[in-house]
């Protein structure tokens, strides 16, 4: 049952990613893939938050697993981010490629800390 819910949550996360990325793309026509960056950083905040709540026993491990590994795991993506970095390198936008790769990573880790800190505050 847990696995089934995890799978459905993963599918829901992927669907949300597809729609949000599309909406961001339609609005900001930039070379930098802002949609994927926004998704990965926001997903990192949320997983930090869920992890923090789990550590405080505000969420059962099962719910944390379904939300974290399922929903947010399906929502955020590493493969697309990597391919987008390569595409930027290919089009000779090396600076943007570095910003995309390093910037997302730094922002993602800071976002995780922020989410976990927020859970502690509540």
């Amino acid at each position: 049952m847990t696995v089934l819910l995890l799978a459905l949550a993963g599918g829901l996360g992927a669907g949300l990613r597809f729609m949000i990325d599309g909406l961001v793309r339609a609005r900001f026509r930039t070379a930098l893939p802002v949609g994927t960056i926004l998704i990965n950083v926001s997903g990192s905040v949320l997983l930090g938050f869920v992890t923090g709540l789990g550590a405080l026993h505000c969420l059962t491990p099962t719910v944390a697993l379904i939300l974290g590994t399922g929903l947010l795991g399906g929502y955020t993506t590493f493969s697309t981010a990597s391919v987008e970095t390569v595409r930027l390198i290919q089009s000779r936008r090396t600076t943007l490629a570095l910003i995309n790769a390093l910037g997302t990573m730094a922002a993602g880790v800071l976002a995780a800390f922020a989410g976990a800190g927020l859970a502690l505050l509540l």
């Binding site: 949550a9 829901l12 795991g73 993506t77 390569v86 997302t104």
Partner: protein, 181 residues
């Protein structure tokens, strides 16, 4: 141009999650954009269900020695390689329509997108920093970045080699005559 009507695989009883009213602050084009098309969204969701399950299964199977988040690293690097192969292969076969779009959304955006994850990467690194293992955290982040980008690069390169264009069209498929990496 959207012509190919997908026959979305049924991902189960989660049809009610489709938003009914999304306010796009743009002049609405005559055709619904692809990311607001219920059929395509369902297709991505179906792939996502399987991708997330596969990741969960592999994370249970793969070892995590000394608290190193190796499973996530392996999954992410492997997924980046496969997505590179898939997207480059599809691009070289023709425009994003019909069966190609179906595969891109089901296998690429859906499965590979959900199979790999960024949130766990961030949170794993946070845990390592928090436990005073900053060096391991930096190694983990550096390895993810270099191996992930490298894997996507190799995947794209491998697929580009498969689909050679007519002579004179594309001598340097990656546009990297200087040969980085």
């Amino acid at each position: 141009m959207e012509q190919g009507k997908p026959s979305p695989a049924d991902p189960g009883p989660d049809r009610e999650h489709l938003p009914r009213e999304i306010d796009v602050a743009l002049t609405v084009p005559p055709q619904r954009p692809i990311h607001l098309h219920p059929g395509y969204v369902l297709l991505v969701m179906a792939g996502g269900c399987f991708g997330a399950s596969a990741r969960y299964g592999l994370e249970l199977l793969l070892p995590a020695p000394y608290g190193w988040p190796v499973p996530t690293l392996i999954i992410n690097v492997f997924g980046a390689f496969l997505l590179g192969v898939l997207l480059e292969g599809l691009v070289r076969r023709g425009p994003d329509t019909g069966r190609r779009r179906f595969l891109r959304l089901l296998v690429g955006t859906g499965f590979m997108g959900a199979f790999t994850t960024y949130s766990s990467l961030s949170v794993d690194a946070m845990h390592l920093f928090d436990a005073g293992r900053g060096l391991v955290a930096f190694l983990y982040l550096g390895a993810s970045l270099l191996l992930g980008t490298g894997a996507a690069f190799v995947g794209i390169w491998a697929a580009a080699r498969q689909y050679r264009q007519p002579p004179g069209h594309d001598v340097d498929p990656l546009g990297l005559s200087r040969g980085q990496q």
